[in-house]
Amino acid sequence: MKRSTRWILCVLFVVSVFAVVCITATSASADSLSEAISQGISDGKITKDAEPGFLGIPGAPKVNFILGFLWAIWVGWIFSTVGAFGGIMAGVGHITIFGLGDYAKDFGKGYPMNKLLTDSIRVSNQWLVGLSGLISSFNYYKMGRLVAPLGMCLAIGGVGGSWLIPDLTAGKISLKSYIGYFGIAVLALGIILFRETTKGGQAKRKKAKEAAAAFEKEAKKGGDSKQGVKVLEGSWTLMFVALAVVVASALWANLGGGAKWVAYVLALAGWALTFFVGTIRFSFYGVEFKFKAFIPMLGGVFIAALASFLGVGGGFLYVPFLTTVAGLPMFLVAGTSGLVVLVGMIVSIFSYMVGKGVPVQWSFIGAELVGIFIGSMIGPRTSKYIPDIWLKRLFVLLAFYVGLRYITKGFLGYSIVPPF
């Protein structure tokens, strides 16, 4: 069967599931923000006539746009000098710098407004990185640097993980717990960065550069970097079916008013199908690569779930997963991981905003995007004055500080680093 025919059948299957959902589902739930505000007013935690602040909530802190803008410049500077840590810094801004975290905590654990603000912070984190990921994924698609079967298997896991986690956790995680888990992720990243700055890490890097120099001659001859990916073996039919089934599960979960168990069954069925896809072989640059289809699927589930739970991209997890577990060359990792991050984020943001109706303050996101691109112009100009190793050391320090502070505040209720 032609690939275009498979795509058409896939789309028809998804559309028919959407139609069944629409015909049989119950009405959408009421506006969660209005409900949370009404409950806050009736419980005396919100003063009805107070001046509206963040998200239009009476008495909420007025987000300082200048502070948000300056913090976003810092985030853009980090993106353009060190890279992956930028998403984490954006998250730190939303949680701590803008005072939203403290306001949410004042409502107390388990309170609806606390949970709604936590979800809004998670979605705000994702919008920033997700919007930008759209551009990079499109560029890599144009250049043909995507390994389609690998991307599909990752997406099969990623799409399921991206809606399941918001579904299981939206409205159930208090800000305190979220901060604690966020701190664990930041500390883990700090430990990984720290290893690269040690003598051993630096020695490995030196050896790699020496090895690279040995292949310098071949590189200067002009290696053909435009050789495309050729898929040699793999069950396309099963992969398409699995992808369609998982996407259908996400649609059912977001739009169906009841019978949620159908969505869970569809997701599990999609994942189970990858165990029958078998081995996928492809060649790139004249070299053959192969992988079992269920391995990137499981990786996709775990990484998308983690990214969706924390609200940051997961990009820093896909790259080591694809290079270490799958052993892929960088050119293929770049495009494939970018696409999967994008797919996971679209489903995750869609799940939050349509399925659970979480609000976002648009003007603030806009101001942050402006700050980020200004930071991206400053970064290249300052990076020539700051050696790489010192940049990494600076971020290791930041990661340890933020990680320890968030873990202890989240799980112990107090910080062991100042301000206490």
Binding site: A28, V63, F65, G86, W127, A212, V319, M330, I365
Partner: protein, 177 residues
């Protein structure tokens, strides 16, 4: 009032004008929203062109190093030296990572008008719902401004990109050229 909402209010009369030109409110809605999508696209293109001009040499350097390390790693793999391949591939990933995240930050220059446009639409049209042709239970309340603006923005962006191909000052917008 904060700075950004002040800015949105100051251009309110400019943005609402196309909505009022036609007599038919629905025609006005589509015309005005298309005009908003056009302003968002053009503002993004202008700022993106500025950022590209400032960062192009840095991006090209990063891409050149990435390409070199990638070719070196593939040559090591073809020569059967898996250890060197892994080590050089790691260098390639580092070089790629820096350029990739730089380009993500630069992409914000193209996209910043979108949330501001959505913020303005929220101020003006948050209560407006558009019923669909079919009575679908999950969408019985109809759809809102975002449901119309986002697809319209994508369409306008594609049209502007096709037109921009003929204009030399916008040709270098993509750093992959």
């Amino acid at each position: 009032m904060d700075f950004v909402n002040g800015l949105i209010n100051s251009i309110d009369q400019f943005l609402i004008a196309p909505y009022r030109w036609p007599k038919n409110p629905m025609t006005g809605w589509w015309l005005g929203t298309a005009a908003l999508a056009l302003w968002a696209t053009l503002s993004g293109k202008v700022t993106m062109a500025l950022v590209m001009r400032m960062n192009l040499s840095h991006v090209k350097e990063g891409l050149a190093e990435t390409g070199l390390r990638h070719t070196q790693s593939m040559n090591a793999l073809k020569a059967g030296d898996k250890k060197s391949y892994k080590a050089i591939n790691k260098l390639a990933n580092e070089a790629y990572g820096k350029t990739f995240f730089l380009q993500i930050a630069m992409a914000a220059a193209s996209l910043w008008p979108i949330p501001l446009a959505l913020g303005w639409l929220q101020l003006r049209f948050s209560e407006v719902r558009f019923p669909l042709l079919l009575d679908l239970p999950p969408l019985r309340d109809g759809v809102g401004y975002a449901f119309v603006f986002i697809p319209l923005y994508i369409l306008v962006r594609i049209l502007v990109a096709n037109v921009a191909r003929w204009m030399p000052q916008f040709r270098k917008e993509s750093s992959e050229d």
